[in-house]
């Protein structure tokens, strides 16, 4: 695994290249609107639409290109860590034999120096000084070589490995989520029971409430639901945003709410000069007798009335921002009134026709049964992501705050001692600390300044 292509797959060069490519693609993905219909790109991004659609950049983060980069990153991390682990373990368990083996100790760049003076007498003292700083000290020797080894924070050696392992687990979890997670939206009105597809249980909405702030914006949605299995209530719980229900391997989340406008209850106020005023309650789509030989029909209701270019009425939103009902009134078989009546604007009669002068119809009240939109989510990758995240954060803390430090002093008979310092973190500061411990610098307690 140390030949050409493998080496490249394990190299940091590839890793850095991948990171850069992933950054670039991610940025592109935030610039191109995602998840639109092909028509959208042809209309708005004419020159690029061919490229966008060919590369699947309309859903860039699930495109083969992006996913293969992520997968390559996973492989890169795996190989990189794998190749580096043996050396790390060797360092963790330095053997006396290897310390005393003839030849030079393994070379690290930029971290060796000759001591200008002998240390033979005060090795004990040196050991004590290092121990006081939290180092573990080992000394060993034979007839032509004496070795002094002081080490600290050995777990720190594996900080980056922990980070990368966490990262690999997160990526694996993410790929599993992308492949296997499922989401089903369930809309329930109060009292309604719905079988959850693919599951043995049903969900019943017992009560649904929307709470508002004084300014009218939504404060909370609460769905009291029962889980039914074979007709028996297994569990009852209130689901709120941020307080999902977990059952079996599914999570149920409060996503939004709506009102079933097809079942709106209308309250119409009909006044006829000389006859009087009456209130008629009926459901949208119903016909009702209203006395005096009048038949009232409400063929339609629109919560947010607007008219398109072709003159057709439509709802701008599902919110009751401009509620309007289509009303038709018959008197003795003849249509005497037809048109839209507006709850907020009773004065508008532009969309009405009446054959009885002075007849007035008002939309006094309307109420539709609310429904709660819950989302059932199954995500087998999530637990991997959580454990990976834990390792990642732990690894970061270890990498940055428990840096491994190692000092070796190797003294051959007849030669000035060689001293080797090994660390991957802030070598300059470490050198200063060690120099101080070795008594190479005069001043004590010189603070490690970042500025002059």
């Amino acid at each position: 695994m140390t030949s050409g292509p493998w080496k490249f797959l394990a190299s940091l060069k590839l890793g850095l290249g991948l990171l850069i490519l992933i950054i670039i693609l991610s940025i592109i993905g935030t610039l191109i609107p995602q998840g639109q219909a092909p028509e959208f790109y042809r209309q708005h991004l004419r020159d690029f639409s061919g490229l966008i659609l060919a590369l699947d950049f309309d859903h860039l983060y699930r495109s083969p290109l992006f996913l293969s980069l992520i997968f390559l990153l996973l492989l890169n991390l795996l190989f990189c860590s794998w190749l580096r682990l043996p050396a790390k373990f060797r360092r963790l368990r330095i053997r006396d034999e290897s310390l005393l083996a003839s030849g030079q100790p393994p070379a690290e760049r930029r971290d060796r120096a000759r001591l200008e003076r002998w240390l033979s007498e005060d090795l004990l003292q040196l050991a004590a000084a290092f121990k006081k700083k939290g180092y573990r000290v080992r000394t060993t020797g034979n007839e032509d070589k004496k070795i002094f080894l002081a080490r600290k924070s050995r777990p720190g050696l594996f900080g980056p490995e922990l980070v990368h392992l966490g990262l690999m687990i997160i990526i694996a979890g993410g790929l599993i989520s992308a492949l296997f997670s499922q989401r089903i939206s369930v809309a329930l009105t109060e009292g309604q029971t719905e079988k959850i597809p693919g599951q043995t249980f049903s969900l019943r909405l017992d009560r649904f409430t929307t709470e508002y702030y004084p300014d009218g914006s939504v404060k909370d949605w609460k769905s009291l639901v029962s889980v039914l299995e074979n007709g028996q209530v297994k569990l009852q719980k209130t689901i709120e945003v941020n307080h999902p229900l977990k059952y079996r391997r599914l999570g149920f989340f409060q996503m939004s709410y709506g009102q079933d406008w097809d079942r709106t209850e209308l309250g119409l106020e009909i006044s006829l000069p000389g006859v009087g005023t009456r209130i008629v309650n009926l459901k949208a789509g119903e016909t009702r007798e209203a006395g005096d030989n009048l038949m009232v029909k409400a063929p339609g209701f629109i919560p947010d009335f607007a008219v398109d270019e072709a003159g057709r009425a439509f709802s701008r939103s599902p919110e009751p921002a401009n509620p309007a009902a289509m009303v038709e009134i018959m008197a003795g078989g003849n249509q005497v009134f037809v048109g839209w009546v507006f709850s907020r604007h009773p004065e508008i009669s532009r969309y009405q026709r009446s054959t009885l002068p002075g007849m007035k119809v008002n939309l006094k009240s309307f109420s539709a049964p609310p429904f709660s939109v819950l989302e059932a989510a199954y995500d087998p990758g999530a637990s991997l992501v959580w454990s990976g995240s834990l390792l990642l954060v732990l690894g970061l803390l270890i990498s940055f705050y428990l840096p491994y430090r190692e000092v070796r002093i190797c003294q051959r008979t007849g030669q000035p001692p060689l001293y080797l310092v090994y660390t991957r973190k802030n070598p300059a500061a470490f050198r200063r600390e060690v120099d101080q411990l070795l008594g190479l610098t005069g001043q004590k307690g010189s603070k490690d300044k970042t500025d002059e």
Partner: protein
């Protein structure tokens, strides 16, 4: 004193802190440094009181509107500066950091950011709001320190012009690294991990490639790039500083830009 008077007072004291810091350039000795340090501390206390007042009065986390978030980010920067000053003696770098704090304070106090309370939409009502935003902004404050240090590095003429500058450049380089070493883990925990946990509780999915999510990932990747190019290629100095600057620009875009230029689930504030 109400929240805004406290904030204004903190603003003025931060200004004095910066000025004494710059004065220190022309004077040797520790006096100016110490005055500047205690001034900064006093401003920090007043600023904290302002945040506490707002929290108590609104009854919700002090980072739910743009004004609150910017003020909290400024506060976090002050905290980062004070901690780093104590630990590593920022000296000539400190006033430039205060300049960033002042810019944030000016933005927070400006009329462009409305000071009203917004009732929280259902998704924001969670203790994860506290954890996610506070840890993220704290992390970004340290990344801001790295940003300033790296900018100063890039602006300090190199040794071919002034050999005397080399020591200063090296210290700036180290300072930037140390700030990233604090900011990166905090940002990872706050923005990415806590963010994923919260999203999974609120929406049932931990990651949705929402623009704000993507941009925090981009920010994070920049700093991963920073660490690795340094560590393994031994990049230091100019290239390293450039990546730290780009990383922070990405963080700024995540914080301000995404809400204004891109749309998504996170555009609450």
């Amino acid at each position: 004193m109400n929240e805004f008077s406290l904030l204004l007072l903190a603003f003025i004291i931060y200004l004095l802190t910066m000025l004494t810091g710059f004065l220190f350039f022309f004077r040797t000795g520790n006096r100016m440094r110490r005055i500047s340090y205690y001034l900064g501390l006093a401003g920090f206390v007043l600023h904290s009181l302002s945040l506490v007042r707002r929290t108590v009065e609104s009854g919700q986390a002090p980072f739910t509107t743009m004004y609150e978030s910017v003020s909290f980010l400024a506060w976090s920067c002050v905290l980062a500066v004070i901690i780093f000053d104590r630990k590593f003696r920022l000296e000539k770098t400190a006033p430039y950091l205060w300049l960033v704090v002042l810019a944030l304070m000016a933005l927070a106090s400006s009329p462009a950011l409305p000071k009203t309370y917004n009732p929280l939409v259902p998704a924001l009502q969670s203790y994860w709001l506290w954890l996610h935003v506070s840890v993220t902004l704290l992390g970004e404050a340290f990344l801001a320190v790295a940003f300033v240090a790296s900018l100063l590095y890039l602006l300090t003429p190199d040794k071919s012009h002034r050999p005397a500058n080399e020591a200063r450049r090296e210290k700036l380089d180290l300072l930037a690294y140390r700030a990233v070493a604090v900011g990166f883990p905090l940002f990872t925990l706050g923005a990415l991990v806590f963010g994923m946990i919260w999203a999974s509780r609120a929406w049932g999915r931990y990651w949705g490639w929402d623009p704000k999510e993507v941009w925090s990932l981009i920010t994070w990747l920049f700093y991963a790039l920073y660490l690795h190019t340094r560590l393994v290629h031994g990049w230091k100095g100019r290239k390293s500083a450039l990546i730290a600057v780009l990383g922070f620009l990405a963080a700024l875009f995540t914080f301000f830009g995404v809400n204004y230029f891109l749309s998504g689930l996170h555009s609450y504030v």
